[in-house]
């Protein structure tokens, strides 16, 4: 866990004062609505369908137990007793009162948290691998680099009024768990042939209306040049990104218009003018940041202990959970525990104040006092000794946080949709519920295997539907909710955008359509080892399309 120094704390405290002043001026009629809007958005505050929505930043998804307890406190005191984890490792509250938001920010600041730049056309939360520091396939821990970047991006005087929002993600592992190639900038921490540490830089990925996979514009950037290079990219974007059309304003559109090579040349020219300036990092700057991370102390004896093998043999519910919701830890004798926020009857990513408190308690007792939020809208206890895994599972079961579905069909990701969001065209939470009901049989889900289903209630794509193995997009047709389906998307190393199956299907038919897609997969796969994505890439769209649309159920209008 990164601990603030006095400077970090001062800045967050001054932000609270700034926002309190802005809110008071707005409520007193001294600040007009349009101006206040852009200011409040830079503190993650939206005015939504029913009430304001406040998005709180969780840098690279990492939370200390005392921070999670504060999030629970906020849910209880200022909201309706729950929060919603997002696809960018943040948390949102759907029912705060505008006049209380400065108090919420003050409470957050007391535990080194904030809502800075969680919305608005500025640099957003820096995201990363939710298994940072514990994954076996990791080169180095990416979090100090994320924190450096967070500090550089925080209140950057030049880049607070960009053409559009700007998202940066870091990965440092063989398997990309941070969807870096669908971010405005994806940073891969790598070593070059000489063994030196540095970065590969991808630019221009993104989801939303115009989904694109990022382009690598620099194969190797030396370690100390990270900030100067990011500054060069942002300056080019700030200068040349389109401002005449909000739907053409992301950096991906600029990269597409110039071409990745030309864009890379412009960045390189700007960077050459910046790289030897005071933006160049000193090795000690990185060491300083690293030294402010409190890392877990592992018990070497843990590897010699009995672990949970005995319980696996006698408790089939536990065994079924262990199969899906545990991942191997780089330290032997330890496991990574996924806390599923996808239970039947609950909106994906929702968590109550009581659950947050209880997970904080588990973290203190069993997992180095830390919790991570994933971009799949689950939580992780990353440092659980094998001897404690069974006890953790028992408690999670009592809390309704042990659905054994990580990576399976019902571990779907989903935006708030029409139930909360004023942008949405269609509901997504209720569709998630239908799918849950239809695939409630866990044995069936296990048989289907790993499948990433992602759902958005509108073109903005907060549910990342275009990179779902199965993607679902809600659209509005003459006031009715319809759903477009895409197949074959992926946000990992083999990143790809899904293909449209064809005409959209109605609200009544969408869960059935998913069922048909799954049936075709089960028939077509060469064996149980061939994943949905691999099967789709081998057989292509035709068998899926045939099953989906060759049916009397398909309404004539949709075929027109």
């Amino acid at each position: 866990m990164y601990r603030y120094d006095e400077f970090d704390q001062t800045l967050v405290d001054e932000r609270v004062a700034q926002f309190r002043d802005q809110t008071q001026r707005f409520l007193a009629g001294q600040l007009d609505e349009e101006e206040f809007k852009t200011l409040r958005l830079r503190n993650g505050l939206y005015l939504q369908r029913f009430a304001p929505m406040l998005r709180v930043s969780i840098p690279y998804g990492l939370l200390a137990s005392r921070q999670l307890r504060m999030l629970a406190h906020i849910a209880r005191r200022y909201d309706k007793g729950y929060g919603h984890f997002t696809t960018r490792q943040n948390i949102q509250y759907n029912w705060p009162k505008l006049e209380e938001v400065p108090d919420i920010l003050a409470d957050l600041a007391s535990v080194e948290m904030h809502a800075i730049q969680t919305s608005g056309n500025c640099i957003r939360n820096i995201t990363s691998d939710h298994l940072a520091g514990v994954a076996r396939d990791e080169l180095v821990d990416p979090r100090p680099y994320c924190e450096l970047t967070r500090q550089w991006a925080t209140f950057h005087p030049e880049f607070n009024w960009l053409p559009r929002k700007f998202k940066i993600a870091f990965s440092s592992s063989t398997r990309d768990r941070a969807a870096t190639q669908v971010h405005d900038i994806g940073v891969h921490i790598v070593r070059n042939e000489a063994g030196e540490l540095g970065y590969s830089i991808y630019v221009g990925g993104g989801l939303g209306r115009m989904p694109m996979i990022g382009h690598r514009i620099r194969e190797f950037l030396p370690e100390l040049d990270l900030i100067s290079y990011l500054e060069a990219v942002l300056r080019i974007y700030n200068r040349l990104g389109r401002r005449d059309n909000i739907h053409r304003a992301r950096v991906k559109v600029l990269v597409k218009a110039t071409g990745p090579e030309k864009f890379a040349q412009m960045v390189e020219a700007e960077w050459n003018a910046l790289k030897d300036s005071n933006l160049r990092l000193q090795p000690q700057d990185i060491e300083d940041i690293k030294s402010r991370f409190e890392l877990p102390q592992y018990d070497e004896a843990a590897a010699e202990e009995a672990g949970y093998a005995k319980q696996l043999a006698v408790d089939s519910r536990f065994a079924s959970w262990a199969r899906r919701n545990l991942a191997p830890h780089r330290v032997s004798g330890y496991s990574i525990v996924f806390v599923s926020l996808k239970a039947n009857g609950i909106a994906p990513g929702d968590v109550t104040a009581e659950q947050m408190d209880a997970v904080a308690e588990l973290a203190d007792r069993y997992s180095a006092g830390e919790i991570r939020a994933t971009h799949d809208q689950n939580l992780v206890l990353a440092d659980v000794a094998d001897r404690d895994v069974y006890a953790v599972w028992q408690r999670l079961s009592e809390l309704g946080l042990a659905t054994p579905n990580i990576g399976l069909l019902t571990d779907l990701i989903c935006c708030p949709g029409l139930d909360f969001c004023s942008l949405a065209n269609a509901s997504s939470i209720s569709v998630a519920q239908d799918i849950f009901d239809r695939f409630d049989d866990l044995d069936y889900q296990h048989d289907i295997g790993e499948i990433k289903m992602k759902m958005s209630g509108c073109m903005n794509g907060c549910g990342h539907h275009t990179v779902g193995h199965i993607g679902i997009l809600g659209v509005d047709k003459k006031g009715e909710e319809w759903y477009q389906i895409t197949l074959g998307g992926s946000a990992e190393d083999d990143a790809s955008l899904g293909d449209r199956t064809g005409p959209s299907v109605s609200r009544a038919d969408i869960a059935g359509a998913v069922q048909k897609i799954v049936e075709v997969y089960l028939e077509q796969r060469s064996d149980a080892e061939e994943s949905f994505l691999a099967t789709y890439r081998r057989v292509g769209m035709p068998p899926f399309k045939a099953r989906l649309y060759d049916s009397a159920e398909t309404p004539a209008e949709a075929l027109a």
Binding site: T10, Q22, R25, N121, Q151, F155, W161, L162, R243
Partner: protein, 167 residues
């Protein structure tokens, strides 16, 4: 009435007159001309002080060296949410070491001037809707900064480096 506020928070009287491209040069005084006009004439007529107004769509790298002896450059802020002039100001200060006044004019809002100042602006033409009192308070809204920018507060990085320096 708009008001002119300087980097130290003081109100100043504005003795610059904006000159239309078609208007004849006056005999004397201080005038602001468009970038296009300045690039055409290349030097100030005798007896006149001439400042140049730069649209925020321009790449200052292309002409900055022609402007370094101007007493004032006016950067246009057509919409308060349009951040292009911030980059122009920084490039003028950091890369070309421009030392004259950089003035923000247009939709300049008090909640932005702290950040503008850090990018190198040192004069702000506030529209009537904006209060000069608020602007004065807002200039020092943050006491610290992570970023090196044209007019740095001592940055957090420098403070950390100083704190770890031996002795």
């Amino acid at each position: 009435m708009s008001s002119l506020i300087l980097a130290d928070g003081q109100l100043a009287s504005d003795d610059w007159t904006v000159l239309d491209d078609e208007a004849a040069w006056p005999e004397s005084g201080r005038v602001v001309v468009s970038l296009a006009r300045w690039r055409e004439v290349g030097k100030a007529p005798a007896g006149l002080e001439v400042a140049v107004s730069i649209p925020n769509t321009e790449n200052v790298d292309e002409f900055a060296t022609e402007l370094l002896d101007r007493p004032m450059l006016l950067l246009e802020i057509p919409k308060f949410a349009d951040g292009r002039a911030y980059s122009q100001a920084r490039v003028l200060r950091d890369r070309y070491r421009y030392t004259g006044q950089i003035r923000a004019a247009g939709e300049v809002h008090v909640d932005q001037i702290h950040f503008m100042r850090r990018c190198g602006f040192d004069a702000f033409v506030l529209p009537e809707s904006q209060s000069a009192d608020a602007a004065r308070r807002k200039l020092d809204e943050f006491s610290l900064s992570y970023q090196h920018a044209a007019v740095p507060l001592t940055t957090v990085w420098e403070r950390r480096r100083a704190a770890r320096a031996p002795g």
